[in-house]
Symmetry: C2
Subunit: 224 residues, 2 copies
Amino acid sequence: MGRRRYHQYCPVARALDVVGERWTLLIARELLLGPRRFTDLAEGLPGIGSSVLAGRLADLEQSGLVAKRTLPPPAASVVYELTHQARGLAPVLAALADWGMNLLDRPHENDQVHGRWLVQGLAVTAKSAPSTPDATYELRVDNEAFQVRSHDGRVQAADGPASNPNATITLTTDTLAALATGDLDIPSPRADRLIAIDGDTVGAQRLLASLTPIRTITDTAEQR
Amino acid sequence: MGRRRYHQYCPVARALDVVGERWTLLIARELLLGPRRFTDLAEGLPGIGSSVLAGRLADLEQSGLVAKRTLPPPAASVVYELTHQARGLAPVLAALADWGMNLLDRPHENDQVHGRWLVQGLAVTAKSAPSTPDATYELRVDNEAFQVRSHDGRVQAADGPASNPNATITLTTDTLAALATGDLDIPSPRADRLIAIDGDTVGAQRLLASLTPIRTITDTAEQR
DNA sequence: CTGCATCCGCTTCGATACTG
DNA sequence: CAGTATCGAAGCGGATGCAG
């Protein structure tokens, strides 16, 4: 209903009026990979509480950022998807992810770890990587399929299998997390055992390696 | 104290754990232009309530994003400033501002309008503008001085007068707002009357013109 | 089973008052 | 000026209920 606003004639404040509430940008994060159903969203946002999710979706719909669509039969299920305007939030999420990478460290006590989130992190680190040739990769994380496409400097992730990928990468969520923590290096014999690559091995390895945090001298010294 | 977190091993969620609460990114917006005192911050964040501001600053200090510093005598006042890590939020704020520009429209009933905010908007629109030669401009908005520097593709705003600016631009907050709404065009006779430019007139006009919203066909048709 | 609405205890917010 | 104290209102998280 009557959302809380900042009442500032400022572009940042206006943006936060619409997407600044708790959970809202994470809903956008989920939907950036593709349309999702209510329960899928809830599962990707552990702890949200159904009423808050429903409220946020209603607010976003009213703001013209989310559209509710009924899939054609025989699916006939309702999905939420981002509008064109909301897809303009991609750079915001990317900037946040870029900055947040430095805070990622490793999973805490009761952190949830979803392959979906790390695939998006992968797209961000890949963009920052020195050379990113145009290519498409399919990632199968715990039997869930994602695609990461890089096309003239932009890298974007999406739900679902890729068509004609340069490589198909199969691994588990834990393996993806191990790459993000730096516990698993690429290339390495252990990585070869945990990750199956079908197709352009070099490109796939470069993609996965971009997720590995940069070790500073301090990091190495503090290593135990 | 114990801030509310998302408990997700995801770069976006981690970032929002630290800067996702209400007001926090707006505090960063204020401090990105330079160090500020408590009351200056409060004045730039109308409606925040002093206890919330104090709490946020304490949280940010504990997160290593804000440092409290006592100015050398005779000032001897306490200022808050962003740490190096927090200055990494600049792209986040820029992305938000970029996206929020489309929501800006015009000031609502009880919106506050601060020149400070629009100067930052100016820096964002200038960056997106087609050609941005290296230059420094001083903006005097209602007797408050700002500087906008563009240097190889990056444009940043800061508090205070510029040294050796290419031009000095003097105008009021209302005039700046009129540019943002599109009510004032550049160049135009009315603009010449409201804006004083000392130095590189062409560059200064190009800078100011970048703030003018792009009128779509729909906008023009809907105009009344 | 999905997509919510309702209720409840707790936290957070906003506004004002007050203090060194 | 730079906060802390206080208090009613709003928002959140979790559980439960229920209609399609």
